[in-house]
Point group: C2
């Protein structure tokens, strides 16, 4: 397994997709002994564009990939400040005014000042999910002042999928731009699957520990105990999980609020905890033991992703009492977690019509001290299963524009089945579109560079550059070639949409040339608004 596999090849047992994305190559920005990955897209006019890169060594022609050995443990050699107030976390250090290597790394990666990173982390408005035991990861930051991030869910279930497939899904998802991945495995070999993913993942890995806990009690939620859950969290913490979804806001008294909903409780974690509370007639053990959980998280620097166990699963249930009662509790838990020096994100709703999106962000910020919001979609309508990557991308773009820091992707298979490799790619690309659209709308300093470079290539009929600057160069090229496969069409001043006689862009060039060669052809008076 020492030799990289060629581009786009997949092997069942032990290999993954490697090699650069079309028209680009991996490079590193060397800053203060840190090596920041970038993807350089080379253009045919001699220019180039460097873009944010999440794909790890897999797209590096010079790297040797060995899944058995795992990725290099780069962060093991970084300086780690002393524990502050019982916590060895980015939050504790940021508050103490310490700038960590992780902060310098993400600042260089985003192209922003490191002091912005430190202050946003210190305020709890941004998180850097970096378990000390996941030294293979390339740090990244999640917060509204930074580029909007995308998470891809992977994970086997009782019905289908294998470890090798899941590792390849991780590599595949990060290749196309996933900033973090969540391993949501629920079937057999959860521990081993996660170990393979962590040792080979260049991005932070999130989990939902209650899933594995439930496996340990053979799927009976009423048999869960705090001790079993805690041990599961420690097991995962030791492996290096960077952030964990904890549904500690599903309180006993909130359960009846879901009784008249159209779709009840749709979060798996939420329904498990609700069932437990009702069976035991007790408050949730996640809530009553939350402080102890914080102490564990503080030791490893695991970030809370406080789960929205009562999120709406349909348009009808959006923004209801159950959802916002839980959100208020998540706000209380945020304060507790931060008092332990633990980083916190808040998970957000799944189905919300467009006119109810803004209120979600407003309330989250108000109730949860502006902790980074991490939303699933939301889906703007329920009526298009098989297209829920699109129904949700509409909501995702809007909620990200309003301030959401990370978007959890949705694939075309949502509500219908487990995503395959193609679905994962479509899901990631769709969510990169939503995230990037929000970056543009929020005025992220570097976002428009890529739009401008692509549009310029389009106007100048540099077809290869247009493909290579695209989020998915391969599909763009393939679609073009369906109608005009010959190489000369790649420099032709027209395409198959209008044909050679009608190209507006060519006429536009003619107009510009004419205007430049003879200024008298243009009228003198120019009216502008």
């Amino acid at each position: 397994m020492g030799t990289p596999v060629s581009t786009e090849t997949t092997v069942a047992c032990n290999a993954v997709t490697t090699g650069p994305i079309s028209g680009s190559h991996k490079r590193h920005l060397e800053i203060d002994g840190l090596s920041i990955p970038q993807r350089r897209i080379e253009l045919t006019n001699g220019e180039h564009l460097d873009v944010y890169d999440t794909s790890g060594p897999y797209t590096d022609d010079t790297a040797t990939i060995d899944l058995e050995r795992g990725l290099p443990r780069t962060r093991d050699s970084w300086r780690r400040p002393a524990t502050v107030d019982g916590a060895s976390t980015q939050l504790a250090w940021a508050r103490a005014g310490l700038v960590t290597d992780e902060m310098r790394y993400v600042a260089a990666r985003e192209g922003v000042d490191v002091e912005l990173v430190r202050t946003e982390v210190a305020a709890g408005r941004a998180v850097i999910p970096v378990n000390h035991r996941h030294p293979e990861s390339e740090p990244m930051i999640i917060g509204k002042r930074f580029a909007v991030k995308v998470n891809a869910n992977i994970g086997n279930s009782a019905v289908t999928s294998s470890i090798a497939e899941e590792v390849e899904k991780m590599v595949w998802a990060t290749r196309w731009g996933a900033d973090t991945i969540m391993d949501l495995s629920t079937g057999a070999e959860i521990h081993q699957t996660r170990e393979w993913i962590l040792r080979n993942s260049p991005v932070p890995v999130g989990t939902v520990p209650i899933y594995q806990a439930l496996e340990k009690v053979k799927g009976d939620p009423t048999a869960l105990t705090w001790e079993l859950y805690r041990d599961t969290v420690i097991e995962q913490a030791e492996q290096g999980v960077d952030y964990m979804t904890v549904h500690a806001g599903v309180l006993w008294r909130y359960v009846p609020l879901t009784a008249r909903r159209v779709t009840g409780i749709v979060s798996r974690g939420g329904s498990i905890m609700a069932a437990w509370c009702l069976a035991h007639q007790q408050e949730s053990f996640l809530y009553t033991n939350f402080a102890e959980l914080c102490e564990i998280f503080a030791r490893y620097d695991i970030t809370f992703s406080l789960g929205d166990g009562l999120r709406p699963g349909s348009i009808a249930d959006a923004n209801d009492d159950a959802q916002f009662a839980e959100l208020r509790t998540l706000g209380e838990l945020t304060t507790i977690a931060k008092s332990h020096g633990v980083q916190v994100m808040i998970e957000g709703p799944g189905h919300v019509p467009m006119h109810k999106i803004a209120e979600n962000v407003r309330l989250e910020e108000e109730l949860c001290e502006e902790a980074p919001f991490y939303t699933l979609g939301p889906l703007a309508t329920d009526i298009a299963p098989a297209y829920d990557h699109i129904t949700s991308a509409i909501g995702a773009a809007m909620i990200a524009q309003a301030g959401t820091a990370m978007l959890c992707y949705v694939t075309p298979k949502e509500h219908l089945g487990l995503p395959n490799r193609d679905d994962v790619k479509v899901g990631v690309i769709t969510y990169k579109i939503a995230a990037h659209s929000a970056d543009l709308a929020k005025g992220h300093p570097r976002a428009q560079e890529r739009d401008d470079a692509l549009s310029k290539a389009r106007f100048e009929f540099r077809w290869h550059d247009q493909f290579n600057l695209a989020l998915d160069p391969d599909t763009a090229r393939e679609f073009h070639d369906e109608t005009l496969p010959a190489e000369p069409a790649k420099t032709a001043h027209f395409c198959s949409m209008c044909g050679p006689k009608f190209c507006s862009m060519r006429i536009s060039h003619d107009i510009r040339a004419q205007a430049e060669s003879d200024a008298t052809l243009l009228p003198l008076e120019v009216s502008t608004r």
Copy 2:
């Protein structure tokens, strides 16, 4: 050709897709001698849902389809009021307080009061595009107080495609929900292609007459004349074209405003007229002869779709002086057209980042007397060719929520090639999602019925109903069956995403049942915000 072809079959020369969409059948609402088409989705729990239907007789099991003969000329027998003030248009009649059969038809179709229809048409805030010579069409209304509509572009080009393909694309697009279609053919046999489409189209047909005019002068824009253009318009008017895009707002003096743009002029019509103005050093013949054009339109009741010839073709060019200068002129032309009794829509921009969308609607309404806005997308980013149905659906949903009345679809092939049959379907479904999301957000009275019905089916594990209530039942079923093909899975209380042990919805049912059977299990105090 007397026998309907079976569902989903396509024949190269003379047949099209017929038969009902899965799980539904065509029915008609009989009101005052008018027969309004609906699609009834039958559910396994004995309920049903009637939805708006654009597909014409092609989905009617009892109809005989004969493409040579064309659809029945139903509207020939409807009462047509006398000409008012020189115009025999829905606008003139609405202003005169007359309620036409077309108004009654669209009111029943939308489920609204006919007086709302008449007043909105009279105010010019809505249009009913119905050329007297297209009696085969089923009237529909475009306006912000009504359901958001979707247009699908079809049409051959010099590079590819045949007449039979284009007729099938029309049938196919309306099957999946296109409310109007535009025939943008630019190649040979334009007249004949359009004739076939018109005689067989149950929805209004739009064109851009300058394309055919340019064919007549062999593609040399400088050889165009008013007379040739006018004769082309009359030729198309006689055939029954319901609305025509006219780029009369591209004034000579606006052309230099595009010189420093990243992507110049991207509208074909816009670039043709710009080239003509510069070559002749004269004002656009569309602008100088606009009154005569209005007289022609008034005779047939053709609706203007005032083209945005200077629309931005990239994020960098959005909302610039060229775009808004033209919009101001379109406002002047709106006033002139309406003074001739002619109905008017305004076309809107192609590439606009999210934060600049609202201004487009605000200005359009302010400058163009709230004439219905008809937008292409807009695309919220330039960086995803091959996914521009998605980049544009984000913008489309947002601009429709803000007040756009009709959305022009974008297919995955946009910027890359001509859409095939699959692309047309994906484009239409994607835009139905955007339109429906906006209907929900605007509180359209009947919009949420379908979301609620589908979500209820989802929660009750009625898989067949969930598929059949979807915008695309076939793909939803296919995706589900990829992992769980067996028939028992269609009633199973789980799916492949979580597997049998983990289904949150099933647990949710258990919770509900438990709560109902023993109220003491629930805590007494219920906290709501």
